[in-house]
Amino acid sequence: MSEEIKETGKEDASGNETRRNFLKDMGTAALAGAAALMTDSDDAEAKSTWAEWFQKNWRLMTDEEKKDAIARLETRYSEEYGKKVTVDGSPAMKSVLFGYALNIQKCIGCRRCVYACVKENNQSRHDTEIQWIRVIRMEKQNFLPDDMNKGYPPSAKEPFGIQVGGNAHKPAGVTLEGQHYYQPELVPEKDAFYFPIQCMQCEKPPCVKVCPVRTTYRDPDGIVVIDYNWCIGCRMCMAACPYWARRFNWGDPNLPKEEMNPNTHYLGNRPRMRGVVEKCTFCIQRSRKGRYTACVEVCPVGARKFGNLFDPNSEVRQILERKKVFRLKAELNTYPKFFYFID
């Protein structure tokens, strides 16, 4: 692997001193309270729960606080899921800006990316089921001579419709008006194409702007992340996202022990709790270690491409150079780093 992989050593040390002290004091007070309150339960467990509750936003933690937070989580997750769980806290890589490209012409709508993502990222499996990728089926054509005389205004003399043609409202080429719950025997179907949508990792993400507590933010490598421990669950981001990329843990997530992926990242696929928002992070636990995302790897037709937008030899940059690309809802000026392309 190249030098890019080297982690940025610099931490955001701007967390202000007084706040830290205050929290520390609060934390000690809480610990004392917890010890008194939870005499029945395991002391260490209560301690970690309270410490978790009082911890700061990840972005503002010092290296030491990050280490503590990670250690707490690793212990708790390892116990809960009965296997050795690692929680990575690695920061963004130097001079990397992640980009994604999807060949809309190739996608066959098999939804394997959806489930690869679920397996990798520890989403809730049921009640409520959470999937970060949604594949939409859109019809290619159904222009019919039979519909010719269904025009508007209806008239015996000119039934084809001098104002609205009888073949209006045909979906060919109409994006985002399709079927989300298609289930044919086999894909691809002759009369359809498919349009996968997930977090676009916007350079100007509206979700980050609306978050009242800055729990979701852009990391230097362009990934929009969430500190699940800081999220208050107000769902402003879900309303503001033009790509419907965010999901909410309405109840306690249901993640079977044996299904749990133990290789996690603090900002990525570590198990979430009830009442917080989650979303695609370009598999931050993989991508920051140089590995392709799970959806890229699983795509059976190689429609998905991922890489560093700063590297002219990367697959995404080559695509931008050689192919016709578009960004979804470009008119909203969110500048997604997720490009759709055609050969």
Partner: protein, 314 residues
């Protein structure tokens, strides 16, 4: 006196309230809209468990669909603890379709690609390809006919005789191999403009290798050298990583497993289907409060049946 009236009023109000709420409950039941959350919660996992426990798929295909005879093109078997660091299996299989959903170890069972030709075009050869770490999954071991002993096995079908080498590359009716090519006079590749022996070596049966224009042998593990002869543009895209599939490291020059042409496309039927149709994974669960997705069917079609009519390639 006053108190009596008060309690009477309260009683009447309670009665009214009860009646109204009962009415609402009744009407809601009639509509059967809000499913009570508790029973649904209990049923779901049980259902899933029922669907999953009887047969856990551990043999799954990697990219292309299993062939008609049920044999996977490149098949993997799930082995636990392949990545010891995390206790990962090498792969996780889809229980619905039998495809690999997730690679724990992307390089499981791979071998180095060998010498990759550096692109001739200056524009795209800037990257130091010599340093690229490309691996492929050797396919020769998974080929059906390739591994047969010509003297023992082949003879079984070919009337106990060893078939002589053909004199030329002219198309002729084949007595065997209908499983690969249904009609040897109508190849489903190149619209019958060429024939089997334009790609397969007609003199060396020992290796049954692919051949280039000069008769040099090409390994089954690197069919791109053969395909690239005609599909030059696609080949360049594939070489750059724009076309085709790679898993492993996204870093330029990093270690990647490259999927070769034949892992995604079946060269013998590619004219019919660019990709062999496969079974899709299950649709997401409908949002709470929705019973079916019929509304999606009625979008855009004014009564026309848009239910999938059967699959076909692009």
């Amino acid at each position: 006196m006053k108190r009596g009236r008060f309690s009477k009023i309260v009683f009447i109000i309670l009665l009214l309230g009860g009646a109204i709420s009962a009415g609402i409950v009744y009407s809601q039941q009639g509509e059967q809209i809000p499913a009570p959350p508790e029973p649904a919660k209990e049923e779901k996992p049980a259902e899933e468990a029922k669907a999953q426990t009887p047969q856990i798929v551990t043999d799954c295909f990697e990219s292309r669909l299993p062939q008609e005879d049920g044999k996977s093109y490149t098949k993997v078997t799930r082995v636990e603890n392949t990545v010891q660091q995390y206790g990962w299996p090498n792969v996780k299989c889809s229980q619905t379709t039998g495809g690999v959903l997730w690679w724990g170890d992307p390089f499981d069972g791979t071998a180095p690609m060998g010498d990759m030709p550096v692109l001739a075009n200056d524009d795209y050869s800037k990257g130091d390809y010599a340093k690229e770490e490309a691996v492929v999954k050797p396919r020769q071991s998974q080929l059906m006919y390739f591994n047969l002993d010509p003297n023992k096995n082949c003879a079984l079908c070919h009337d106990g005789k060893i078939v002589p080498f053909p004199k030329d590359k002219k198309p002729r009716k084949l007595a065997a191999h209908q499983d690969v090519v249904a009609d040897s006079m109508q190849l489903m590749h190149g619209r019958a403009a060429f024939w089997c022996l334009d790609c397969h070596n007609h003199t060396s049966r020992k290796t049954n290798a692919l051949i280039d224009h000069w008769g040099n042998e090409i390994s089954f593990n690197q069919p791109q050298k053969l395909c690239g002869k005609c599909h030059g543009e696609v080949y360049i895209d594939w070489r750059l990583g724009i076309h085709g599939k790679r898993i492993g490291s996204w870093v330029s020059g990093g270690k990647k497993r490259w999927w070769v042409c034949t892992e995604c496309h079946n060269p013998h039927t590619v004219q019919v289907n660019r990709f062999q149709p496969i079974k899709p994974e299950t649709a997401p669960v409908l949002p709470k409060g929705m019973k079916n997705a019929n509304h999606e069917q009625s979008q855009h079609d004014d009564g026309h049946d848009t239910t999938p009519k059967g699959a076909a390639g692009h």
